[in-house]
Amino acid sequence: MLTYIIVSLLIAIAPLASRSERMTNLIATLFALVQVASVALLFVFDRFDMALLTIFRTDTLAVVFHVLMIAVLIFSLIHSSSYLRAEKVTTRSYNAYYTLLMLLALSITCVYYSYNLAMTWVFLELTTICSAGIIYHREFEQSLEATWKYIFVCSTGIAMAYLGILLLSTVAVEGTLDYAALKSVISEGNPLYLKLAFLLIVIGYSCKMEVFPLYTVGVDANYAAPAPASAFISTALVNAGFVSIMRIYTLYASSEVFAWARNVLILIGILSLAVGAMFLRRTNNYKRFLSYSTVENMGIVAIGMGIGGVALWAAVFHVMCHTFIKSSMFYHVGVMRHVYDSYSINRIGNYMNINRIGAIGIVVGTLLLLAFPPSPLFVTEVMLFSEIASQGRWWLLILMVVLMCVVLYAIWSRSLRLNYHSNQDELHLSEVNRRLSYSASVLLLIAVAVGIWQPDMLKDIIDSIVNLQ
């Protein structure tokens, strides 16, 4: 693991010494290869579920989300190159962007593999620092505002989470904050401290998972960052927040306050879903629109975790599939920006006649996001609803259906406007890069394939993740 971190770190900072964009692209390719090789080596040498350097563990949760991150990273690296060239950035700025993106990928990977409560916190804080540079990359006034808010709110939120970690560590034996060690002693903890710790940690990590209450900074970050980086932040980084909360969730499964913690997650989920539904109708920017869709989807995931049982299985599957769909949508929106030089919902339209493949990608992506079959999200939401119904929580079911109807209307109407409405005023249309639209659609095809057929191996993997013992 140490070798992997050192090699990845050296490759990540190498673009700073690069003199050409071509060299930086080669370095980025090497970085992606190292990521692929690191996972391949785990398979070849059968190094699963092993402790590494005392603070990491190659458990199923970590490996699965690492694989997902690599998939998104490869597409982000490819799309970033075209995006930055179209923006005509300087070579220095180009290199700095790639360095930060690779450092962000490395810190996210460390979050996934971290098996120590305090080190998860350390790596999450590192992701804040790496993301800040990417959010500020476009260097306009609003990106500066978004960056300031992102660093400040994340740092303060994560300081609160640290307080929760300290409270949780009162049960630790000899200061060991290993998740497995904590799990064996958590039942002896003071229930009041455990509740407070859970609340503080979940609130702190909510800025990463993009759920209520600190979701706003994530939305602003996605808005300000270049579209391919937004795709990465909105999926890989959000997944890092999910993995961190999932580890706490698994830890609390052995405590007497688990039922209370699940109710907290249901409340957070409902509030996130409500916020998503409300702002999806209000926003006038396609990137913010997609970010609020992330808030809505992560709200559904939080509800699934809160309900437990089959719904927890559905929640994990939902996060995995959301990664493919949402990243693809961000890449498509990035291509769309090449065409219009704008993300404004009210101004742009007629995309179906300008870039048919891109428009079809956006329509398909929208349908998948809205959980129309064969979307994998249809599978997860049916499982979630059936579990809620089987527990007799009809109020929750009705509330969710109402909110999701609002979401459906908001998302579908915006998609139609983009594809079929005429442009509101004169826009300076530029060339369409259809190859990027095709490549973004590959991720949608993967999502459709998983929606139609879930292989037994995938089911076993999720079963092992949701095993709370």
């Binding site: 916190w121 505002e145 978004a146 300031w148 740092s155 303060t156 300290l166 702002f279």
Partner: protein
Amino acid sequence: MTLSLIILYVLTLLYLSIAERFRNHTTILAVQGLLLFGIAIARLHEFHPVEMTVIIIETLVFKAIVIPAILMTVIHRTKINRIHSSSTQFGALVMSIIALIASCTITYYMADERTDMIFFGVALYALLSGLILIVMRKRIFAHLVGFLVIENGVFLFSMAIGVELPMLINLAIMLDILISILILGTFLSRVDNDIHTDESDALTSIKD
């Protein structure tokens, strides 16, 4: 000894709530760093060179010297001087005293036999003081000070519950916080340069 240092720490928090000049805020943060060093040393049961080094780096070097130096640089660069003229000091003092009373009350009901009640109460007061600074003050520099007061509160809190994290983790946490503050300081200067404001009310151009 520890009790007198803790009382001094409470006084710095009270003074912070009424201080107007940012130089004074920075000086108070440096004093808090020194007090935390004294408190941490006083609580050491026996001499451990490694533990001693970590305490010196975390409190004396980082909290009492490096961070105040970064803040002073930001003050020089941005030429910001004092908190907003419309802010009332009396209101801030009342809020601070309410926070102190609330901290004592919460501590009384929450602390268990493993927790040091005085440390717990003061740590909670420090956290609330930081939050009050962030919520009540308009200038973003004051928000940065509020964040640092919260960080100091978290440090006290770790002593209140007697947590001793491994040295590697402690160092990683320290580095993380230091880098965050460096970046926050840099971006604060950029906000001042590019947006020509140092007030949070002006940072509202991103909305739906």
